[in-house]
């Protein structure tokens, strides 16, 4: 039996918490003890963490302040406390406290670079667990992820040097050898890079093991497709999306059969959308059976987009941030969907929606081709292998 600590440090989507919770359930079923340190504790109710200890993950309250639009990995770090060694020292001290309290044998880092630093300092075994955006390629420099903004090589090098200087200043206070390059911070005993090359946010990287996309679609309320004629459209969007009214109008106008989960939807909009043909769930839906018979999937491009592809379903994507935008670009490149530039509440959505419905056979063929390529992939098997690898690592250490 091992003690496993989960850290989710960056990234605002609940997907991180859900993925950690699912993996922890599998580990707990095997007799391991789990603890969690999450950046957000406000949706724990949705996560089923059992009675495990839950810590506040140390994060900067000034995230993103005083820095421009991030273009590269170093920018992300500089905006999250890495701009000054003293601030980073504080964050690392907080993570060290958590890891010590958990007496962790192994850290699972879900987009948690500072937790990885703390584990390095304490000599705790560590793995990372996330998609291509959260686990950048181990290259010097880490290639910029932004497609629409250029960065000069000298600038890129300067920003990496800035973040690296903070990291090394902290490591030297703990008498730990300095890193030669920023990406060395991401060294782990195993990297559970949960995506496939076609969906990799960085577009390509040196020889790497891809563990396949991670998603959790087997939990939630069972909603059946309404009877009738119209195309079956699965909607998994947040009410705060500026295009939500247009989406509701389009679903009504095109006489779609709808299964929708739209967190934050107000009563007026719910009433406008809901009908015998259009089901609007109050709680998260079990997506697996719905995806099996779906003509079009509307989502933001989070982890669930990978599930859409693995079911061969065409997607219309509404990215809410840049990571999701990159996912949308990848799906568009596959021909399996269309990503909307953000945030255009008007005509673009109408045009794209009409095009997607008219042309869904072609998009479906592309999505199905992707599905065929990875026909042997299974989420359950992915989870089993990750658990087995974690157990192997812990055993190797104790042996």
């Amino acid at each position: 039996m091992a003690r496993i600590a989960f850290a989710w440090e960056l990234g605002g989507e609940l997907g991180h918490g859900m993925a950690c919770a699912a993996l922890a359930r599998a580990l707990r079923a095997r007799g391991h003890e789990c603890a969690f340190a999450f950046r957000d504790l406000n949706k724990l109710d949705a996560l089923d963490l059992g009675d495990a200890p839950v810590y506040q993950g140390p994060v900067s309250p000034h995230e993103g302040q005083g820095v421009g639009v991030p273009v590269c990995w170093a920018d992300l770090l500089l905006g999250c406390g890495y701009g000054a060694a003293d601030a980073l020292q504080g964050l690392v001290a907080g993570w060290i406290e958590v890891l010590r309290a958990c007496r962790a044998d192994l850290l699972v880092a879900d987009y948690a670079p500072t937790a990885l630093l703390a584990a390095r300092i304490l000599g705790v075994m560590r793995v990372d667990y996330g998609n291509g955006f959260a686990i950048p390629p181990r290259l010097a420099p880490v290639p910029p992820f932004r497609m629409d903004a250029r960065i000069e090589p000298a600038q890129l090098a300067q920003r990496e040097a800035h973040a690296l200087a903070s990291v090394n200043a902290v490591l030297s206070r703990w008498k730990v050898p300095a890193l030669r390059a920023l990406h060395e911070q991401l060294e782990v005993n195993e990297s559970f890079l949960c995506t496939f090359p076609e969906l990799d946010h960085y577009g390509g990287r040196p020889r790497t093991a891809y563990w396949g996309p991670r998603y959790s679609i087997d939990k939630g309320d069972d909603i059946a497709w309404p009877y009738g004629e119209g195309p079956r459209v699965l909607v998994y969007l947040r009410a705060s999306d500026p295009r939500i009214d247009t989406v509701i109008d389009l679903l009504v106008q095109h006489r779609c059969r709808v299964a929708a989960y739209i967190p934050g939807l107000d009563a007026e909009r719910r009433a406008r959308l809901q009908s015998a043909q259009r089901r609007v769930s109050e709680r998260p839906m079990r997506l697996a059976p719905l995806l099996g018979e779906c003509d079009l999937f509307l989502d933001h491009g989070g982890d669930v987009a990978g599930a859409g592809l693995m079911h061969g379903v065409p997607q219309l994507l509404f990215p809410a941030q840049y990571e999701q935008f990159l996912t949308a670009v990848r799906i568009e490149q596959l021909g399996a969907g269309v990503g909307l530039a953000r945030p255009d509440p008007g005509g673009e959505v109408r045009a794209a929606f009409g095009r997607m419905l008219a042309d869904r056979a072609r998009h479906r063929a592309a999505a199905q081709a992707y599905r065929q390529r990875y026909a042997s992939f299974s989420s359950a098997e992915q989870e089993r292998r990750i658990v087995a690898r974690i157990e192997q690592l812990v055993q190797e250490k104790t042996a």
Partner: protein, 387 residues
């Protein structure tokens, strides 16, 4: 010997850390175990460097839409997200984990309502320390914090009830919450003076300031030019550039502490008479013989200036500063600056002999050195709660 968890959950800037670190040190000197939980995890290094256990305080995300003019302390907490029951339940779970790890006998809360609530649930003894803002008078309903529309008694009663309902739901129905338990402990320490207490003067003991004169870059006056003006400003304040212009027009020499500014920008904003520093400044040597202090109304800087007999021009940016500034202006110890007119406020303050004399009288009333061991006194009061 006792174990203490000292928690800071709300409020910005350096003031909270500067206040609670000396208290932690004093407790440790008396043989107690001390751990800290900070709202701003980037400041944890200050505690861990001294060998204290240093934790990130569980947080409730701020509401995206909030009332810009809250009328009572309950309204402020609701604004800060305490009406989100799921979020509060999550934060309480975080506090509960932390309390289980640290196993304190006493939780000392510097504006830490979540910690107060979690400690009450677990039967841990509770104390508060602060500048008074986070400790509203224990009236029912809680008192109005500014005299504005909607701060009548029935409205405030409704706000208290909303806060109590949300907190009770987050705790589970078995634990009904009393509104005062979100703000008060068994011992409540006012680390300020009655003249600056946003709810003062009140019939409670004032320990005097803790840690307001510590830290910061050492600077010195470069000339004998008068008047000398010392300013402590947030560069993100929209008035910042205008204040620098006003200083150029009014001051013989001015020093400006602007923590958070980039060194390059501070250099660019400086000239021979007005020097801008991108960090806090060590105040005691500079305050000796200064003619005017300009700040936002944070209790730390305001106290340091007044204890040196220096009158203030205040440009509040947030609620606590506004309450302190209004109180000081009413007592004739400060002049309020508006959105514009900082220059006029400075000129009027510099030309006001009564203002200067009242500031000097304040300093005489609170003789130097009188509060030197406020942290030790706080520790002694807190220690009484430990087994």
């Amino acid at each position: 010997m006792g174990r203490f968890l000292v928690a800071w959950e709300y409020g910005e800037g350096l003031g909270h850390v500067r206040r609670i670190l000396p208290i932690g040190r004093a407790l440790r000197e008396r043989g107690h175990g001390v751990a800290f939980a900070f709202r701003d995890a980037t400041r944890l290094g200050a505690a861990s460097a001294e060998g204290f256990a240093a934790w990130a305080a569980p947080k409730v995300p701020r509401r995206t839409s909030f009332n810009p003019t809250p009328v009572s302390a309950s309204d402020v907490l609701l604004n800060l997200g305490f009406d989100d029951v799921a979020a509060m339940r999550g934060a309480l779970r975080g506090w509960s984990t932390l309390l289980a790890c640290v196993a304190p006998d006493v939780v000392v809360c510097d504006y830490a309502p979540g910690a107060l609530l979690a400690a009450a649930q677990r039967g841990v003894r509770r104390a508060t320390v602060g500048s008074g803002f986070a400790l509203p008078l224990a009236t029912s309903p809680l008192p109005a914090i500014r005299h504005a529309a909607g701060d009548d008694e029935p409205s405030r009663r409704i706000l208290d009830a909303r806060l109590v309902e949300a907190a009770s739901r987050a705790c589970g129905a078995a634990n009904p919450v009393d509104v005062h338990s979100l703000f008060r402990g068994e011992v409540n320490l006012l680390a300020t003076l009655p003249e600056l207490d946003p709810f003062g003067p009140r019939d409670e003991a004032y320990l005097g300031p803790i840690g307001v004169e510590t830290g910061g870059l050492e600077a010195a006056w470069a000339s004998t030019a008068r008047p000398r003006v010392l300013a402590y400003l947030k560069p993100r304040d929209a008035r910042f550039a205008g204040v620098l212009d006003a200083l150029r027009g009014v001051a013989g020499e001015a020093l400006v502490a602007a923590p958070g500014m980039s060194p390059d920008a501070a250099r660019a904003a400086s000239d021979a008479r007005v020097r801008v520093f991108p960090s806090a400044l060590a105040l005691p040597p500079l305050l000796d013989g200064v003619d005017l202090a300009v700040g936002h109304g944070g209790p730390g800087f305001s106290l340091a200036a007044l204890l040196a007999g220096t009158p203030l021009v205040l440009l509040p940016m947030q609620l606590e500063q506004e309450m302190v500034a209004v109180r000081l202006a009413r007592q004739g110890l400060a002049v309020l600056g508006g959105m514009d007119g900082t220059r006029e406020a400075m000129q009027s303050a510099l030309g006001d002999a009564g203002l200067r004399e009242r500031a000097r009288q304040f300093a005489r009333d609170h003789a130097p050195g009188r509060y030197r061991d406020a942290a030790g006194e706080a520790a002694a009061r807190l220690e009484a709660l430990a087994p």
